[in-house]
């Protein structure tokens, strides 16, 4: 009979879902949704009144639809004052805790006529009025750049000097080995790693700018796959590359789907008996 998945009392679940799912819809849609939600609440409470424990979602939907389409306004007052009606208590109006008046600056604006008086008051004028400042933006940029440049330079200089002071150095001059000290070069065992890999700093920028260009391994089920059989005489001409324009587009999460001989598991040795 009734689907236990949808409980009549659990309409909040429905409300909740539609509430969060449609967070970004237009005002007109919002209105429609709100109206419909209200009707659903009404239907649900009516059903509860009539003694139903739970109702199928589809049922609630069709009843809502019915109320929506054949709803007679004239009968509404009588119906509203029926004896065994269920009263939905208004959500308790929680008065915001009274904040001690710390500071009030300026004259608060009064509500315009179309705003009911129970709405909160306007905040202090300074919170929405722009404050004019008196710094020149023209020189600002130059100063910022200047500052950034000299700051970087100072940091770099301090850092390299520190490194030079604490470690081995090489010198360009014979008379004064402390002038223009060069941090001694140090041969690395794998020099290509540091020379090729971007630094972490650079990687960050790369991630910020390049997150869209993620190239995952893609696959297409129809790609002709190499049949690498053991017969060396097999005709390999039939199993060549996909034709020019056939770029596989379907993304497949499992890399194992790709049949590539280097991805295949390594075979266990055959137990052979030596002659």
């Amino acid at each position: 009979m009734a689907d236990p998945a949808v409980m009549a009392g659990g309409f909040s679940a429905i409300v909740g879902r539609s509430g969060c799912g449609k967070a970004t819809s237009s005002p007109a849609e919002n209105y429609q949704l709100a109206r419909r939600r209200t009707l659903q609440v009404v239907v649900s409470s009516l059903l509860t009144e009539c003694g139903f424990e739970s109702a199928e979602k589809a049922t609630v939907e069709s009843l809502t639809e019915m109320i929506q389409s054949c709803f007679n306004v004239d009968t509404l007052p009588g119906y509203a004052k029926r004896s065994q009606r269920m009263v939905i208590t208004a959500p308790p109006v929680t008065n915001a805790p009274v904040i001690p008046k710390a500071l009030i600056a300026g004259q608060k604006r009064t509500h315009p006529s179309h705003i009911p008086s129970h709405f909160p008051e306007f905040p202090d004028p300074h919170t929405y009025i722009k404050t004019p400042t008196f710094r020149e933006p023209v020189s600002d940029y130059q100063v910022v750049r200047e500052k950034a440049a000299s700051q970087r330079r100072d940091v770099e200089r301090a850092l390299t000097r520190f490194m030079a002071k604490t470690g081995e150095t090489q010198s360009l001059f014979k008379d004064d080995v402390t002038a223009f000290p060069l941090i001694a070069e140090r041969p690395s065992s794998i020099p290509y790693l540091s020379a090729l890999l971007p630094s972490e700093l650079e990687l960050q920028t790369l991630e910020e700018t390049d997150s869209s260009e993620q190239d995952d391994q893609t696959d297409s089920e129809n790609t002709p796959v190499n049949n690498l059989n053991d017969d060396p005489g097999a005709d390999k001409e039939n199993s060549v590359l996909p034709a020019g324009g056939m770029v596989p587009l379907v993304k497949v999460s499992e890399e194992n789907m790709i049949d590539n001989p280097y991805l295949r598991p390594v075979k266990k040795p055959k137990v052979r008996r030596k002659k």
Partner: protein, 1214 residues
Amino acid sequence: MHEIKMNRKKDKGFESPRPFKLTHQVVCINNINFQRKSVIGFVELTIFPTVVNLNRIKLNSKQCRIYRVRVNDLEAPFIYNDPTLEVCHHESKQRNLNYFSSAYTAAVSAVDPDAGHGELVIKVPSELWKQGDEMNVLKVYIEFSLDQPKGGLHFVVPDVEGSMAERGAHVFSFGYQNSTRFWFPCVDSYSELCTWKLEFTVDASMVAVSCGDLVETVYTHDMRKKTFHYVLPIPTAASNISLSVGPFEILVDPYMHEVTHFCLPQLLPLLKHSMSYLHEIFEFYEEILTCRYPYSCFKTVFVDEAYVQVSSYASMSIFSTNLLHSALIIDQTPLTRQCLAQALAQQFFGCFISRMSWADEWVLKGISGYIYGLYLKKTFGVNQYRHWIKEELDKMVEYELKMGGVLLHPTFGGGKDKDNPTPHLHFSIKHPHTLSWKYYKMFQCKAHLVMRLIENRISMEFMLQVFNKLLSLASTASSQKYQSHMWSQMLVSTHSFLKSISNVSGKDIGPLIKQWVDQSAVVKFFGSFAFNRKRNVLELEIRQDYTSSGTQKYVGPIKVTVQELDGSFNHTLQIEENSLKHDIPCHSKSRRNKKKKIPLMNGEEVDMDLSAMDADSPLLWIRIDPDMSILRKVEFEQADFMWQYQLRYERDVVAQEESILALEKFPTPASRLALTDILEQDQCFYKVRQGACFCLAKIANSMMSTWTGPPAMKSLFTRMFCCKSCPNIVKTNTFISFQSYFLQKTMPVAMAQLRDIQNLCPKDVLNFILDLIKYNDNRKNKFSDNYYRAELIDALTNSLTPAISISNEVRTVDNLNGDVRLILEEITRSLNMEKLLPSYRNTITVSCLRAIRMLQKNGHIPSDPSLFKSYAEYGHFVDVRVAALEAVVDYTRVDRSSVELQWLLNMVQNDPAHYVRHKILSMLGKNPPFTKAAESPLCNEALVDQLWKLMNSGTSHDWRLRCDAVNLYYTLFGLTRPSCLPLPELGLVLNLKEKKAVLNPTIKPEQGPDTTEMTGNTMGVHIPVMGFTSSLDEGLITMETVSSVSMSSGVAPPPQGLKRKLDSVVGPLGSSPPEPGQVLQEEDSSKKFKIRFNTMEEDEIDMESPHDSQAFIHHHLNILERPSTPGKEPPAVDQAVLSLPVTPLPSSFSKESTSSSKHSGHHHHHHEHKKKKKKKHKHKHKHKHESKDKERDSHAFSNSPASGRSVRSPSMSD
């Protein structure tokens, strides 16, 4: 005697030089030891004899230790003889490069697989060949090992903690041309195709990547190793087989699952990015060739310490790991893609389709280079393509004009005078292995340019049809089981290629081929013109220089484009023997309608300011051969305004670049304006704009006194790249527009070349550059600015000028110039920051090292190589090493330091990285410490000995390096005996045993009348030379030669003092200009440099018993190590005899020839003595007697000094 058939085959089929056909080869490497750098394995070759009673099988093998050879399960005796190990055996003191080159060529010929030869000769057991007519399959099984190979395989084993896999240890095969023989015995020829089974057992943590399909991977029984089984069913030459083993990270190409990429640990993200483009290259080639990629899979492997950036093998390519880059890097991206495209083009032409002989190499290099060019055009645009073509053409033309012609298709006649088609070269072009590397580069360059010429002639459509035909023939052939001659369809020859062209296009390209392929050299045009107003005719004069080296005469059509007021007109002129002048009627009458737009070649109509032009002439500009359809250099004269119009309005980038070059000679305000306009034009190709920067700097310097306004380009740079509000601060980097990026990089470098009246870099330019460095801000950029920062350092370097020095003052910190102090400050800071935050490919370190060297050279800081030497050590990134080495090379030259030269040569011999070794020698050749033309304290006997040893025996493992050493030797000492060698005791070869001395025939007088030698010969007395030191040239020459033939064993070597004197006498002699007679002499001698090599067939040696070749190799190596002394060892005797045919005595002197034959008689006489002692030599000498007569007319092989000593099994020589 085998004769090398390198001529273009008139008959269609391929004739194997071998008496057998190889059909299948198994290569099994069971063990690779990274610790010891050794390899153990075996090969099994399946061969079909093509003659009855095949008794000898010649294979190629170098540096392999061969343990046993079995033919069809029967032990087979073998000999191993590698004459290239040591080219000239005796410790001769001649040091004559002519002699060396011919001996080296003979040695390479002696084991040339294309002529059916090999280092390894296996005797087929008699049981197998006495079976009668029946031709059975023979299976040749060879067990071998390699211990610390110096060539063929390269081990990279980083010195860190951990297992080999954790350390990133890897090994890969490498080599220049056919070099597979270095790592397993095979027929190392591009024309011997067979199918392959390859097995490699490696550590379980490693991957073995090789050619063909990976069939399966199986653990060994102890589960600690894996065996990779590869099968290559497409017939492939051994030279196209490769291997790399390492703990590679595996990336299956996301677009093509048959394609797998491999890189070293930790580099996977770079690999992913760098390879994301490969599929487009695949698609491009498959589309234009209408042919699928011929192999069923493709593998790319990126290795460290690569020999070359790209090397292609059947179904795989090995790249340098330094090609990998992240998405942050701009400059490397096109370079890496170009490398990939080259590798892939060579998969089709070079690997799948192989060549018939060395003479056909140009076809493959040409086609692969040509289709690579088409890729460039499609991907990087027509501008880039045309720019590239011009660049390549200029490069090649420059080389040919400087060094002499490059010959694409050498034909070697049967021993006639035309034996050496390139007498101008100091090496032979008969073999790829004797070529200079630079020559080979230019050869490749010319090959693809000639293909483009053929395309011009027959259209691209036909061209591609020809390629398609070659490919489809080959792919039909490849799928066949072995049948005789079927597989030869996979080989391309010049003949078959040309035939295909004529079949497909129906056009005769004979003259084109004759001009550019069968003949070397380029064309050099000089053009000038006059406008005849009365006749309204352009009188064009085109002259040619065809007498200088590297030039040839051109006869045929030439296109001339004339831009007139009424439009652009093409004219095809005929260049004929004697007609220099060409009248071209003009279309435009005069400038009647001033407001009319001027139509350009591309149909565009533009407004021009015509005020600059000559009012009487309708000519705007003229271009000769605008399509580059002749391999030429054009020097054309036209007025400056014409060049300016050409720069502004001609849309072809080649024309723009030409006019930029020409405008350097016209430092006028109008040129300045034209260049500035180009700089500002966004639509203009960025490389043209870059060129305009440097040109502008040059003309600004020429206009120094009249220049008005701020320094050139400064305001332009400010407008383009600096902030609007604060023009002294550069904008934060974005680099979104690559065109502006490249311009932004180049402009400061060009600006730094500006000089003021004191010839210093203007102060505000220097400050400007320093500000650029200071305000450089890359935080918001999605690209790395490492190349930009490096170029800013380069700009600082460019701004340096020589220090004003007070005589020999020591450079100290205190007397450092203020500007230089600022520069040095930047450089040290950048170099130090690199240690903390290294840039991609350490570009900034590279620039800093260059800057420091420049500071030293200009006398601002003390000249000292120690910093560079430390950066040059193994363990730095290769670019850094090369930059540091370049500085050391430069220091060596400037300071004439023998210590540094020794240090460099030591590194050439010992450095682990082959590329670095090669680079040192080529940099020394480019920037030599001294040359043959000048005296130098560095030029001494020890150095001659050292270099001689290096090329003679020290570089036998690497063809390229040996040719580099030959090149350097040539640069330093020239072709003949180095002038620094002391003379007297060289004149004779002493044989203590025989108590006889003979004239050493390899001494060749540098120049002068040949009679002198004769005189010396007949006189036979040692003339004291002391008194003659200041006499005439002729006298000097006489003296030299006379002293060189001083006689009799009794004569003691002259005292040291005399030697010194002689040195000083000979010095200027070597540097004096050649006389006309010398050419003749050279020819004569080259004719005589024919070397006979006794092939194995001729020797009746006991080959019955099997033996261990290891012993021979050791024996041989011992000989190499031991400095042999003439007279002590039998080889000294050999020397006198063997070098006889090489005698460079001109035959034109009848007396001379009699005297030489007298000598030979003499030798034979004393060999009669020997005969009794050593019976084994009998045969050889007898053979020599016979051959003596033949030498004059027939070519064949002369007795090579290389053959003088072969390593034989004990059983053979006793």
